[in-house]
């Protein structure tokens, strides 16, 4: 490993940008791509363009890597992004409707709807960023909760006297979301281990 005692704090891009880059990069690429961008920032952009334009260049690199992270990847990841987006929309819609209609027990159901939306957001962030073990455990735990909620909703709706189609659809989406999340968490664990 090369000499790390060189003081380069004044030559580095802003801390928040460097942190954003680390969030976007996978564990495997954190050292190499981070180093590539730092090298080019210091050798080419900072001396010739000044810190403002060099920081803008760095921001563009982070954005392009984030975009590649979001759009690229496996079919599983793309399916999870799609299902998370649906779950966020469904959770938000349920919460809003409960608060408009205000039937008895709406506060409890609003809390469940908020939980569903939050789990959707967490899963979406899990897809777009490369969180650590604690984040993966959190997302997997949330997936277990929505699996329970979705499963209960489907079973209760099928056995209820009044058939509620939207409950079946949202319940099924929650089950799919949970199963996809388990698969993605398992895969990311294997990739991190490799």
């Amino acid at each position: 490993m090369a000499d790390q005692s060189v003081d380069m704090t004044s030559k580095e891009p802003p801390l928040w940008l460097r942190r954003a880059l680390l969030l976007v990069l996978s564990v495997r690429d954190r050292e190499t791509i981070f180093g590539d961008l730092l090298e080019e920032y210091q050798k080419e952009h900072l001396p010739s363009e000044g810190s403002r334009r060099a920081n803008y260049w760095y921001l563009k690199q982070v954005a392009s890597l984030a975009l590649a992270q979001a759009l690229g990847g496996s079919l599983l990841k793309q399916a999870l992004i799609l299902s998370s987006s649906f779950v966020i929309a469904a959770g938000t819609w349920l919460g809003v409707m409960e608060n408009i209609l205000k039937h008895s027990g709406y506060a409890e159901r609003t809390a469940i709807a908020a939980g569903i939306a939050i789990q959707g957001i967490a899963t979406l962030l899990f897809c777009l960023l490369n969180g650590g073990l604690a984040f993966r455990i959190l997302v997997a735990t949330g997936a277990m909760a929505i699996l329970f909620v979705g499963g209960s909703a489907v079973i209760n709706s099928l056995s209820a006297p009044h058939f509620e189609g939207f409950v079946i659809v949202i319940g099924a989406a929650l089950i799919v979301e949970a199963l996809l999340t388990f698969a993605a968490v398992l895969r990311s664990r294997q990739r991190a281990a490799a």
């Binding site: 490993m1 090369a2 000499d3 790390q4 060189v6 380069m8 580095e12 690429d29 050292e31 190499t32 791509i33 981070f34 180093g35 590539d36 961008l37 730092l38 090298e39 080019e40 210091q42 050798k43 690199q61 392009s64 890597l65 984030a66 975009l67 590649a68 992270q69 690229g72």
Partner: protein, 139 residues
């Protein structure tokens, strides 16, 4: 033998091994179509061959920009390198870090035998597709 010599040799072998009017041509051709690389992937692989021992992320980005004559996004290059490595067309290893990189290592890429084969097959397929066509094509 260097990667570029290997490509030239493999290309000659590939080109001469295609019996155009036999059934085997069609079987082989289906295989090629399944393996054919996009222009972007070809540009990245050719840049890796060209840079030889100096093929790391940013150098590949600059080389591919020259080859394709347009500005490329870092995300596009790094995700393509990752994909080509997963396909087994590239291999990589970590080099030494330098002070200007804050001691962080560079990831160097090399083309694999499968990568050489895929490049040659892509070139061979394109040449066959264009055989007999008048260039430039007029509407």
């Amino acid at each position: 033998m260097s990667a570029s010599e290997l490509i030239r040799r493999d290309f000659r072998t590939c080109g001469s091994a295609l019996p155009i009017d036999s059934d085997s041509f069609y079987v082989y051709n289906v295989g090629i179509v399944a393996e054919v690389l996009g222009a972007f992937e070809q540009a990245v692989l050719l840049t890796v061959v060209d840079l030889d021992d100096e093929a790391y992320g940013r150098a590949i980005l600059r080389g591919a920009q020259i080859g394709l004559m347009r500005e490329l996004a870092a995300g596009a290059i790094y995700s393509t390198l990752d994909r080509l490595e997963q396909k087994g067309l590239l291999s990589s290893h970590l080099g030494e870090g330098t002070a200007e990189r804050g001691g962080r290592a560079r990831r160097y890429y090399r083309i694999t035998a499968a990568g050489v084969r895929a490049l040659n097959e892509s070139r061979s397929l394109l040449e066959r597709m264009w055989q007999g066509a008048r260039w430039p094509i007029k509407a």
